[in-house]
């Protein structure tokens, strides 16, 4: 990182606020944990990994994102409560836990995902990491500032506000001085009857200086910041795209220099002088034609180049050879690999549930979902019936409450009284009914066999990182479930929106493994990332998924170490059988 002018300015003006204590301590900052487990760096590190994979898209330690800031959460709640909440917050809420409901209400009723498959150790590690981070500690993993980083408590407000006042004062002072100067110049000009300053000449000269300095700064920018732009593309088409970029940069750069130069040079050269008369010259059709044609020709070149490149990228003949599904949601990414059968199972958003977050078409899961939903409807109906009683209760407990609590209480009363509570419940019930119907239809109609074809059973679902083999054309199939996201992989030069209801895809061939790129760039912590580039909500800035490009051998090793998502807990022999069946089937088909 270069300490540029701006860096110095930053130091100069915000000395006090710049005292940011980046967590760098190696040792853990806590002695004991509420989880009762022994504190050690390895556990904390494991907790951090878990946090990054599962929590950080919605939570930060110090900031409120979608969910609340997690600093000192272990002091606010019991460990037992935390475990329950993390595993299945919805169940906890339904059990009538007051705290759980309060948290839910306080966060815009945003539903947190359930993590039912977290093991005890994992929950403990997660909590330990949060404790450690709250206490200002941190494992020695360098991460640039921000949500996941362990930032010290905000700077003492007193200091900051003093700095601000000083700044404002300085600011005003400069303003007043400038204003005085202007007034003096004006006064003198009025007295003398003509301008003291020859504005025409001065401005012309400043324009010239601005041009010279501007060009110098431009070159400096290209030299300094130009180095910080994306390194060479790691995909085949990316290289072509970069080439196209360079060609465009060449032409536009040339035009930029020439026209800006002429603009400021003319401004300087032909500044107005007394007694001079401009050259009366109103048109010249030949010149017009010339400078219509030249840009047209240049643009034709660019258009043809662009058309070829674009077509090459979007019309890749090798698409669908190797598919990976990437699933975008608020606020994270999940990927799904075809299992041994080489086919991605079908999916439908109606099947999404706590144990099937991608809505993969698995027959028994779909069947099991129906009673769950039916139970839900029953619960909701009960809630609906109890609304008048609840209103009474709320009204009786209202007395004595003050401040924020009273406001929440009043809101709730209002919600029931004006019928929104009821209509919300009814909407949910109707949605559930629709969902049940759709699932039933999908199970019963003739297409059911084709839809629940069990190809999804052995699919592999990964949350943390995607691995892909090098030098092989890969198709990423994108699917979303809530709002638009944009799957942007800067290093691969690929981007496509994730559109709920519309299948989108990118096809590319990575030509450099992560390892090679690390060595080439001499950055040991370099990774390929998939990030979100389309505004999608509060934590939009925080959605990422690591992509690892492996050699063919490494990839094989990795993929074979992964378990099928629906065969993982394959204690039940029935599923084993099904799995075997499917493999046989695919064999036959193949």
């Amino acid at each position: 990182m270069n300490k540029t002018l701006s860096g110095k300015l930053k130091k100069l003006l915000f000395i006090s606020s710049a005292i940011l204590l980046f967590g760098s301590a190696n040792a853990a900052a806590i002695k004991e944990s509420v989880s009762g487990k022994a504190v050690d760096d390895a556990t904390i590190a494991a907790g951090k990994t878990l946090f990054e994979g599962k929590c950080q898209s919605c939570h930060a330690i110090n900031n409120k994102l979608v969910g609340p800031a997690l600093k000192d959460v272990h002091k606010r709640r019991t460990y037992d409560w935390l475990t329950k909440w993390i595993r299945n917050n919805e169940a906890l809420r339904k059990s009538g836990d007051k705290d759980a409901i309060a948290v839910f209400e306080a966060n815009n009723k945003a539903v947190m995902s359930a993590f039912t498959d977290l093991k005890d150790d994992e929950v403990a590690a997660l909590v330990m990491y949060i404790e450690d981070a709250s206490a200002g500690g941190g494992v020695a993993v360098p991460v640039a500032g921000g949500a996941t980083d362990v930032v010290a408590a905000p700077v003492d407000p007193q200091v900051v506000s003093k700095v601000n006042w000083v700044l404002i004062f300085l600011f005003l002072l400069v303003g007043v001085i400038l204003f005085m100067i202007v007034k003096i110049i004006d006064q003198v000009s009025t007295i003398r009857g003509k301008d003291v300053i020859k504005w025409n000449d001065i401005n012309a000269i400043i324009f010239l200086i601005f041009m010279i300095v501007g060009f110098i700064v431009c070159v400096w920018e290209f030299y300094v910041h130009g180095k910080l732009v994306l390194p060479e593309a790691a995909t085949e088409h990316g290289r072509k795209l970069d080439q196209m970029f360079d060609i465009t940069l060449f032409f536009t750069g040339f035009v930029f220099v020439v026209t800006e130069f002429l603009l400021f040079w003319f401004a300087y050269k032909y500044r107005g002088r007394k007694g001079k008369k401009a050259f009366f010259y109103s048109h010249n059709n030949k010149i017009e034609a010339l400078w219509t044609l030249i840009p047209a020709v240049v643009l034709t070149v660019l258009v043809i180049g662009g058309l070829k490149t674009w077509r090459g990228i979007t019309n890749n003949p090798e698409r669908d050879k190797f598919n990976v599904e990437v699933f975008g949601y608020q606020f994270g990414w999940t990927a799904r690999y075809p299992g041994d059968d080489g086919k991605l199972g079908k999916s439908n958003w109606n099947l999404i549930s706590n144990d099937n977050l991608l809505g993969v078409a698995i027959k028994d899961r779909a069947e099991n979902l129906i009673p769950v939903l039916e139970q839900d409807i029953k619960d909701l109906e009960k809630l609906k019936k109890e609304l008048p009683e609840k209103l009474e209760e709320l009204k009786t407990t209202l007395g004595g409450l003050v401040g924020e609590e009273r406001k929440v209480h009043l809101d709730k009363i209002a919600e029931i009284e004006n019928g929104t509570a009821k209509s919300d419940l009814e909407k949910t019930i109707s949605n559930r009914t629709i969902q049940i119907n759709r699932i039933k239809v999908s199970l019963e109609t003739e297409n059911a066999k084709a839809f629940y074809d069990n190809t999804g059973l052995d699919d592999i679902i990964v949350n943390n990182e995607i691995h892909i083999p090098v030098n092989k054309t890969v198709t990423f199939k994108f699917r979303g479930r809530d709002v638009l996201h944009s799957a942007y992989i800067p290093m691969f030069r690929t981007q496509i929106n994730v559109v709920p209801g519309l299948a989108t895809e990118v096809v590319f061939k990575a030509i450099e493994t992560t390892k090679d790129k690390k060595e080439k760039l001499k950055k040991p912590d370099f990774e390929y990332w998939l990030i979100c580039a389309k505004i999608c909500g509060a934590a939009h800035f925080n959605m990422k998924l690591k992509i690892v490009v492996d050699t063919e051998a490494d990839y094989k090793k990795w993929i074979s170490s992964q378990e099928g998502a629906f065969t993982k807990k394959a204690e039940a022999p029935a599923e084993e059988v099904i799995k075997k069946d499917t493999t046989q089937k695919t064999l036959v088909i193949n």
């Binding site: 300015l9 915000f14 606020s17 900031n63 919805e90 815009n108 360098p142 640039a144 921000g146 905000p154 900051v160 601000n164 303003g175 202007v182 504005w199 401005n203 910080l228 732009v229 994306l230 795209l241 196209m244 970029f245 536009t252 035009v255 930029f256 026209t259 800006e260 003319f266 032909y270 107005g272 401009a278 009366f280 109103s282 048109h283 010149i287 017009e288 219509t292 662009g306 490149t309 674009w310 958003w349 109606n350 629709i434 479930r481 809530d482 638009l484 944009s486 942007y488 800067p490 030069r493 690929t494 981007q495 709920p500 209801g501 519309l502 990030i531 909500g537 800035f541 959605m543 990422k544």
Partner: protein, 634 residues
């Protein structure tokens, strides 16, 4: 004249008010139907909205520059919900970005810019007593004001303002549960926009009618100043594109509130499927939105270019170079702007084959833009440039238009757009080419026509300081952003923490924010200058810049009807600056031809005489269409 003048209350039964003899405070300043007063109302509302937008940008720039610091003053100002502990909330950050964009695009650069100057200049420069329908003109302002008020209120409601970006892409904007701002804030945003569309249509119909129907004697289309050409086509663009947004918004309103699913499908949100909704397509909205959205860009920049054409010609004391080419460019840009909307959607899931078509048209649009730029340069060449504050801003506009326009060639190329779409590169591009350039056009117009508005001039010294500070700070803000974008940082990020590589831009962000604060401070100079000059500015002569156009032939005193006597007759085009046959370096449009003038320039110089009537006019598709449509001639 063959026209029969009869006194009718006009189509809408209200224009009888033109006859009022006594004016009280309300009829003069509030419910005025005088186009000059309405112009001032647009301008001042626009400036106020501009200040709001600017303050918002400073707020979120603070967050970007010092993401880990706390500014207690923010908590005092915004409350603990939106700035807990003096740190901007992520949702509110999105809201600020959204409302900043909305305000700047629609309220400042559409209504504030073209509303102000179309109102002021169209009647004055074409030689009309007022707009065709002063009542509708007033209504247009009141719709605009109502819309501004609704949008401003939406910032302060409890659940927060709309926060899905100014493009309000569904499903984010269609699902109230998707984020806090998608609730009541979004509803108010849509209400504001419907009101705004009403305002734009009422205004646009008026502008077009006035230009077509109410030009004074001798003001043929090819003698109109380029400002009028620009406003004319701006109005046409607005008239034809805003209705499409209206259609799109209606569908969105129904999706939000009445259970339809035009834009929704496969939604599972907040632990629950919005399951009644299926089968829609978010892409549909994007098409409808950008069918407005792209012409909207030209609605913003064309008036600025028109103003610049006028000011550069006046202050270079030279005729604008290539008047006809300039007009053709405006027409070309206006036409092409309707068939390039898809370049905003190359990677949004649009059919890639359509991308090819849109790419071709998009890059073609660079040609007329280039022609305009070259013509500006040619106008400056061998001029006698007077650096009035207006002229400074006009030159600044040309500079921005070049810098920002060229990066458009990258973005218009579908292939390169894959990498640059929705990154800071885009932010840099459009802020330069339609943000800064258009603001500079607006500033140029304000400084230039201030004497016409208020009869006084703005302080020159402050004007120069304002210009230089703004010019330099604007480049400092937006030039580095190109590099941030090239490093792959997406826009609308609350902080640059998602990838470790992005950390290197923290310093640059500080620099940009400093520059932005500097730029904002420079606007304080402008505000002071503007408002104090209304009362204390130096009294101006009638034609302070020695310009040729008609507005300077009308007295400065406020007269409803513009000219005390008969409307002047026009004998020449407006760009006879430094004409060799005249001693002065300007010849008013109302000066008759000497009869033996050497016609170096244009047919425009010569008066329209019966012999000359066969010469083709610029707008003359009639002859072509006659044959083409087979309609009979009247």
């Amino acid at each position: 004249m063959s026209q029969t003048a009869t006194h009718n209350a006009n189509a809408h039964g209200h224009d009888d008010h033109g006859h009022h003899h006594k004016e009280n405070f309300f009829t003069k300043y509030v419910f005025s139907q005088d186009h000059k007063m309405i112009s001032k109302q647009f301008l001042i509302t626009g400036i106020i909205m501009g200040c709001l937008g600017m303050i918002m940008s400073i707020l979120f720039r603070l967050q970007l520059a010092w993401p880990d610091s706390s500014f207690p003053i923010l908590e005092t100002l915004l409350g603990s919900k939106w700035a807990p502990g003096g740190k901007l909330d992520a949702s509110f950050y999105m809201g600020l970005v959204t409302i900043h964009g909305t305000i700047m695009v629609f309220f400042v650069l559409t209504a504030g810019l073209s509303g102000t100057f179309s109102n002021l200049l169209i009647p004055l420069q074409v030689g009309a007593r007022d707009m065709a329908s002063p009542f509708m003109n007033m209504l247009s302002y009141w719709f605009f004001l109502a819309s501004s008020v609704v949008l401003t209120i939406s910032v302060f409601i409890e659940s927060g303002p709309a926060s899905g970006g100014w493009t309000i892409y569904p499903p984010l904007s269609a699902l109230p549960k998707a984020m806090p701002g998608s609730g009541a804030g979004m509803t108010l945003w849509l209400v504001a926009m419907v009101l705004f569309i009403g305002s734009a249509l009422l205004g646009g119909i008026n502008y077009i009618t006035t230009v077509l129907n109410m030009r004074t004697k001798g003001m043929s289309m090819n003698r109109m100043p380029l400002t009028i050409w620009a406003f004319f086509f701006t109005a046409i663009l607005g008239l034809l594109s805003f209705p499409v947004l209206l259609g799109g918004s209606l569908l969105l309103i129904f999706d939000r509130s009445f259970g339809t699913s035009f834009y929704l499908s496969d939604i599972f949100l907040n632990g629950e499927g919005a399951l009644a909704n299926s089968g829609g397509s978010p892409i549909l909205f994007q098409h409808l939105f950008w069918f407005l959205g792209h012409p909207e860009v030209y609605i913003i920049i064309l008036p600025a270019l028109g103003i610049t054409s006028e000011i550069i010609a006046v202050n270079a004391r030279k005729p604008i170079f290539g008047y006809t080419a300039m007009v053709i460019s405006i027409i070309g840009i206006a036409f092409l702007s309707f068939i390039v909307w898809g370049h905003h959607m190359f990677v949004t899931g649009m059919n890639p084959l359509l991308g090819l078509v849109f790419m071709v048209f998009t890059l073609i649009i660079a040609v007329p833009s280039a022609v305009k730029t070259f013509n500006y340069l040619a106008t400056l060449w061998r001029g006698n440039i007077q650096f009035t504050p207006g002229m400074m801003f006009a030159i600044g506009l040309v500079s921005f238009f070049i810098s920002g326009g060229l990066t458009g060639i990258f973005l218009g190329n579908a292939a390169i757009d894959i990498q640059l779409h929705d990154t800071y590169f885009v932010v840099a591009h459009f802020h330069l080419v339609m943000g800064c350039a258009a603001i500079f056009g607006m500033m140029a117009g304000i400084y230039h026509w201030y004497p016409r508005l208020y009869g006084r001039t703005m302080n020159k010294t402050l004007g120069y300081m304002h210009f230089w500070l703004t010019f330099i700070s604007a480049y400092m803000v937006f030039f580095p952003m190109h590099f941030i974008g090239l490093a792959g940082v997406p826009r609308r990020y609350y902080q640059f923490s998602v990838l470790p590589e992005f950390g290197v831009w923290d310093d640059v962000n500080v620099l940009i924010t400093m520059a932005a604060i500097l730029g904002a401070a420079a606007q304080l100079l402008f505000l002071y200058n503007f408002f104090s000059s209304i009362f204390f500015g130096k009294k101006s002569e009638q034609n302070p810049w020695k310009a040729n156009t008609l507005e300077w032939t009308a007295p400065v005193e406020r007269i409803h009807g513009n000219w005390p006597g008969a409307i002047p007759t026009v004998y020449r085009w407006p760009y006879d600056y430094s004409h060799p046959d005249y001693e002065d370096d300007f010849v008013l449009q109302t000066v008759p031809d000497k009869g033996n003038e050497e016609s170096i320039a244009h047919s425009q110089t010569a008066p329209v005489t019966p012999e000359k009537t066969n010469s083709p006019e610029v707008v003359h598709f009639s002859a072509l269409l006659l044959r083409w449509l087979g309609l009979r001639n009247a």
